[in-house]
Amino acid sequence: MKLGFFTREASRALHRNAAPSFAALATILLTMLVVGVFIPIVQATTGAANDVRKRVLVDVYLTRDAGQSDVTRVRELLLGTENVKRVEFVSKQEAYAQQREKDPEAFELLGTNPLPDTFRVTPEDPDDVLKIASALAPEAAAGGKAPIDSSIDEVRTRRDDTTKILQVTRFVKLMAGTLAALLIAASIFLIANTIRLSLYARRREVEVMKLVGATDWFIRWPFVIEGVIVGALGTLLAILLLAIGKIAIIDPLASDFALISAPDTMPFALLIAVMMGAGIAISAIGSGLSLRRFLRV
């Protein structure tokens, strides 16, 4: 009964206040679209970066003619190096099998196995990668790097890739965060403005309500609900657009691009829930601001 009364009052006010309500709704829609698009993007890139980060390894390639005894010797050497957590040996054959699985045609054409034996060295800490690399292959006087063992052909790290990805991710996050913050502020402001106009339009009603003894919250609720309706409608529209976008664009592409189908992104249902929560919270805050400021009860 009461909720019905509040909702009726709120929708009555929305009808009368169509233009500002629409402006607020459009802003919320935009905000939620941005939030809805950026949450998965940030998550996917962060996921990818973490993936790379986790794979921060030092690859130690052996020379092509390294024999079994060389392999054993280098393993001992690597295990004896500081900061090394784990050493994993990948033989030529294993490497070949792995690569061929990824790209059968190319390796079919190749015929022979061009891959060397490899040690994958996992550091204690990803930041130790460079230390290990320079310990295994110190800078030579003549420039370039001279490995400490004759059977080691090359020592390689993937640190550069990681740094780049992390930088990009950070940038995307920062941009998304700033944009979202600005839009959220705009949404709150516009909702507050809508409610303020509604308050002005209904000041007589508020006066009468006070006279006949309505409690403060009884007077406030319709305005809060009005704001929340605007917020929820805007969010609902945004979710609808996102769902259409997801089904029409993202899903067909997901099988081709690893980033889109990144398993680290939250499920769509959860995303909807988060957006709904955010939309309603934003509009409630907006309404609350106006009520605090302009409704003297």
Partner: protein
């Protein structure tokens, strides 16, 4: 058309007096007498506004249960200040106000709405909601105070019949005459059967004949046991009514007297006849605006 509606209005107004009395008596256990315990008590009340104006200065008076009191005085004399103090719109600068034995300063901000439900208020400008029908305007008072749907459906037609508005249920305020609008406002103020009714210039915007109708309605409410406090500057009305008069001038009480000619327990009809006495000869139907 106008004549028929006027007649039906009149009939609707007169017929159910006993119902109203019964309803009000249920809310106020004791039958009206001016000797009853005081409903309103002002003790040395002072109100100074921020700008330095004096709203009320050392006002002391008390109004008994079931009494009818006029508050007179020119504009700015403090009539409205008294009204606004009574609905606790603001606090007095000094002094104490008791309503029904309760010290108003002890009512917390949170409890004020509940306190106001015991007071009906009527204003010169009616304060009706223009986008709601007569029925909805009255129902609003009940909705706002948490009345159930059943309650509303039972009470609203009743009170509208008592105030003579049965035929106007679905009209909007701007389709009504001033007198009818004030009746709606009174219906709204009285739908909860408050023991105290405040009327701030209830006839300020109305012609004499319509004013009598409004006074008659308030009188009937008063006879049913509700204490009525009317602020007005319509001196002819005050003179004819012969009730207790408190006169204010620049915030001070300069007169507080019950007229010697006080007619006790006069029926509403006698009341109306006496009130119309001396009014220029004219048909009420034409007079009605």
């Amino acid at each position: 058309m106008a004549v028929t509606s006027a007649r039906s209005r009149r009939e609707g107004r007169e017929a159910p007096e006993h119902e109203l009395a019964a309803a009000a008596r249920a809310a106020v256990p004791h039958r009206a007498t001016s000797a009853g315990p005081s409903v309103i008590e002002f003790r040395g009340v002072e109100k100074k506004y921020d700008v330095g104006a004096v709203g009320l200065d050392q006002a002391t008076f008390s109004i008994g249960r079931g009494e009818w009191v006029f508050l007179v005085g020119s504009t700015g004399s403090g009539k409205s200040t008294v009204m606004r103090l009574l609905i606790k719109e603001f606090e007095p600068t000094a002094g104490t106000i008791h309503v029904a034995g309760r010290d108003l300063s002890e009512i917390t901000h949170k409890r004020v709405p509940y306190y106001r439900r015991n007071i009906g208020v009527v204003f010169q400008d009616f304060k009706l909601l223009p986008n709601r029908t007569v029925y909805d305007n009255v129902a609003y008072a009940l909705q706002v105070t948490g009345g159930s749907r059943k309650d509303i459906r039972a009470k609203v037609p009743d009170i509208l019949r008592l105030t003579g508005l049965s035929t106007k249920l679905h009209n909007y305020p701007d389709q009504l005459s001033g007198g009818e609008q004030q009746r709606v406002a009174i219906a709204r103020a009285f739908v909860n059967h408050p023991p105290l009714l405040l009327a701030d210039e209830p006839t300020g915007n109305l012609d004499p004949e319509t004013s009598i109708g409004i006074m008659q309605l308030l009188y009937r409410i008063n006879r049913a046991g509700t204490t009525v406090l009317v602020a007005t500057h319509d001196s002819s009305m005050v003179d004819k009514m012969r009730r207790r008069v408190i006169e204010l001038s620049q915030g001070r009480i300069v007169r507080d007297e019950a007229t010697g000619l006080y007619v006790r327990d006069e029926s509403t009809r006698e009341f109306a006849v006496r009130m119309r006495d001396g009014l220029p000869e004219s048909s009420p139907e034409i007079q009605r605006s």
